[in-house]
Assembly symmetry: C2
Homo-oligomer: 541 residues x 2
């Protein structure tokens, strides 16, 4: 640094004399240097601040509540999934989890059951001189179930497998634990209670709380957190995925048809009416007409995954007012059995895919909903198939009066399922060639017997999960059949017009996603297979 | 054969004498033989009938109308796609196609342009002594456009590429041609007219019919058959597929949330009301609340593809009352930019996937809707990003008054698109950190500046295609923000309850599928990107 001038500067006096040129230069240099130093210091400070911000503020202690995460910093610290903890033995790990349960042992130790989706792990916090104080253990023990915590610790291999956790070969030795998100509501039930199966509840000597379906659905967000439900909805997504993959590999393309329709379609069945500006609209009860029009528009093979709406006031175990339809439609080259074969192959692909790729999820659900393994027939014989007439014969042989079998009602449908299971040991089969009078107007009659139709239903565990058919593609014949079934062709002009422009022979089918899921897993009520189910009495949550 | 008895049998006379034991034996043997022969003959006849049934009945001639296909037989004859015909040179081929156009040359020859989805091929029927009569050529020439025909012929390599067909290296020499499905309506426009681009129509010296959008949509089934539309909807399906694949590979699972809701959600915006038994329901204007509840239910990363409904009475080029939402929501570990990065990576995957795998479809659409190649920035720099403040500065620099830029309206949004295109040569960019007052109540404010929010919009060619943000996961803070925006927390109790049960920090976004499709291809009107579009004035077809 340059020496300061000895003479104190005086504003008016000696102004003329002032500092010499040299001194001025010196001063300028000094100022420049100081400015540079200040800039450097500011930069360093900024960097330090940035570095500080880049570290998560876990408070001054090893525990306590974190401030509300408003994305104040992004330190990019590596986090581990509970399912992968056994790849990190004796290493420090960081992860977020729910506290499913906690249990203090004396005042020096607390056990936690920590949960992420379908995985749980045991964690242990023990007082030590280093990281864990008595206060910390005490505080951890007071955290309510379902709190979201950020855990730092070491993944240890326990001496014996831990039966109470799904990841049984890891125990976390906690070093830091912070509350990230608290629970401010009283839990209407515990996750443990919600995870028990009926048998456990019934056979237990201690009082166990059975959580009713109604209570679960009223508190669906909590109910969905059980390992069972986490697995159920992974399997729901898997069915959709297998459906798509199988069809994509066979030249199908996905379409999206409108749910808002100008007219109540399909022979005036129960549809919901919508206020549409100054007029009205109706909610599609299936993509039937749209997907047929897509075939008339030459898309050749189409599928759709989307909501369908049924305004039926029925509160059974298998009806909802809104469900997810897996629909397909395809041009036929020679025979409608081409469609039946595609659909059959599709179901077998789904069953096979679930078993092969989702064994863990199926096992998890099976603990709460025990079910016999789902069986179907593969190999050269292929899927078990009956004609409607043969199915009736099976029921008659079993003691059902033939007179009541013009149609097979739900009760006899289930009975048939039991007969088939006993005789063939399969849970999946097809009934072909339904009587024409049981099917909608657009169903193609059999080539030789006009009382029969080119239509089929598919069944899982004795319940219908798909209905399909060859459709009439000839507009004159279609109008004739409409009139026979009491539908005025003029009321469906748009639909008929599509066929007047020439439509190839075609057929298809519609699958209820939730039904397939419910029956594959034997959930016994379709509401369990729907994220937020809707029925005549339920529109919330 | 045994000799007949010479004596004519007399009923009463000689009854006692009758035929000898030996004769009886002989007769029995003969009867048995005859029965066997009859059985054999019957079997042969049955086999012949079966064989006959197994052959398609193409009539007695090489041409004519086929009977209505009611799946009377399934001969399993191999059929070829037009796109694959060049793998069958000099071989007999069988396929179904539409007649796009036909042109007789004298009375001995007829040229056909045959179509399957996005492929066309030229076929030629010439009178010869062998298979094709003069009558047949005459009859073929009378078949109306859009008839569905079954063609048998030989795939020949033409001396020169055929420019009028998309498969230019094949010409079919027709040997048999049958009408499978006729056209009974007068076509409102020809496919050729519907396939022209505006420039062609404008510059042509001959009178060409321009087909208006309104006319197309009124006759959508026909309109959808153009090569352009076949390609557009293949690309629509591709976007959905790329969306799913990208997210599935990052641990997202698909959910299906209900479209029927008990209350009008999201601050009383325009929703459709539904008659629901004795009460009412509302159509979801987004899966926003449901997907947030899925995060509160620990699904961690979810996406949904489904219809969303907007009851806004606006008839612009980019609004529909029903469209397909591609939605996602995910838990945040540290910072909402994790979500922005997932979304950004998602868009780049979609753009890249379209260019790499669907070049043919993009080219087909480009013939009718010429567009500059869609550009985005890759490499270490990554996608172009601005803060809202920076975007405003760009507009101010360009001459827009700062006073009008509290929000960026549609006009300025487009202007910004042009500025960015000129300056950076990209069609895709992100604007981050929107002012809090422009966003809904559930948006998380910035950690340091409460007037800003942790929210972003994504843009393609100067139009918004995604809106998203970090959401408030704290129920107390959420209720406070509701009140600030004039929403009564009690009216959304179910939603708030989900957060009271503890919900991790999270964020997400919603994409309009049809907008992405429209803007990528520059279709200029969103209705062209929807199979059967819905707007305030259109509910049909």
């Amino acid at each position: 640094m340059s020496e300061p001038t000895q003479q104190p500067p005086v504003e008016s006096e000696g102004a003329e004399k002032g500092p010499s040129k040299n001194e001025l230069k010196k001063q300028a240099k000094a100022a420049e240097k100081a400015a540079k130093a200040a800039e450097k210091a500011a930069k360093q400070k900024e960097q330090q601040e940035q570095k500080a911000a880049a570290e998560v503020d876990y408070g001054t202690e090893n525990y306590g509540s974190l401030p509300l995460n408003q994305s104040g910093s992004r330190p990019r610290r590596e986090r581990v999934n509970i399912a992968d903890l056994n790849k990190h033995y004796d290493k420090p790990v960081l992860f977020r989890a729910r506290i499913q349960t906690s249990r203090a042992q004396g005042n020096k130790m607390v056990f936690l059951n920590l949960r992420q989706r379908i995985d749980t792990v045991q964690a242990l916090a023990v007082v030590n001189s280093d990281t864990i104080s008595k206060q910390m253990v005490k505080w951890i023990a007071t955290l309510p179930d379902e709190s979201i915590v950020l855990v730092e610790g070491v993944a240890k291999q326990p001496p014996e497998p831990i039966k109470s956790a799904s990841v049984s070969d890891v125990e976390i030795h906690v070093e830091k634990l912070h509350l990230e998100v608290g629970v401010t509501a009283r839990l209407p039930f515990t996750l443990d209670d919600a995870s028990r199966n009926d048998e456990e509840v019934a056979s237990s000597e201690v009082q166990m709380n059975r959580v009713l379906l109604e209570t679960r659905l009223n508190n669906r967000v909590l109910d969905l957190r059980t390992l069972t439900n986490q697995a159920v909805f992974r399997l729901q997504a898997a069915i959709g995925d297998l459906f798509r993959q199988t069809l994509e590999s066979q030249g199908f393309i996905e379409i999206h048809s409108p749910k808002l329709q100008g007219a109540a379609t399909e022979s005036g069945a129960s549809v919901f009416q919508v206020s549409y500006f100054k007029g009205k609209a109706f909610l599609a009860q299936s993509p039937q007409l749209a997907k047929q029009m897509a075939i008339a528009a030459d898309f050749d093979r189409v599928y759709e995954i989307g909501p369908v709406f049924r305004a039926e006031d029925s509160n059974t175990h298998r009806h909802m007012t809104e469900f997810v339809g897996l629909d397909l439609e395809m041009a036929i080259q020679e025979h409608y059995h081409e469609v039946m074969d595609v659909l059959d192959n599709l179901f077998v692909s789904i069953f096979r895919g679930l078993k092969q790729k989702y064994a863990k999820e199926i096992e998890v659900v099976g603990k709460q909903f025990p079910a016999t393994e789902f069986k179907w027939r593969e190999g050269p014989e292929g899927t078990l198939k009956f004609t409607f007439a043969q199915a009736v014969d099976l029921l008659v042989e079993d003691g059902v009066a033939r007179e009541v079998l013009d149609d097979i009602n739900t009760e006899n449908e289930k009975r048939l399922g039991r007969i088939v299971k006993a005789k063939y040991d399969v849970d999946y089969y097809i009934i072909d060639k339904f009587p024409m009078e049981l099917r909608p107007f657009y169903t193609m009659p059999d080539a030789n017997d006009p009382t029969l139709s080119n239509s089929y239903d598919f069944f899982m565990r004795g319940e219908e999960i798909l209905s399909g058919a060859q459709r009439i593609h000839d507009p004159v014949f279609l109008a004739e059949k409409m009139r026979e079934k009491g539908v005025d062709p003029d009321s469906m002009k748009g639909y008929l017009d599509a066929f007047r422009l020439g439509c190839p022979p075609h057929g298809g089918g519609g699958i209820g996603l939730e039904r397939v899921l419910m029956l594959f897993l034997k959930l016994n009520n379709i509401r369990r297979a729907s994220l937020f189910p809707r029925d005549p009495k339920r529109l919330e949550p």
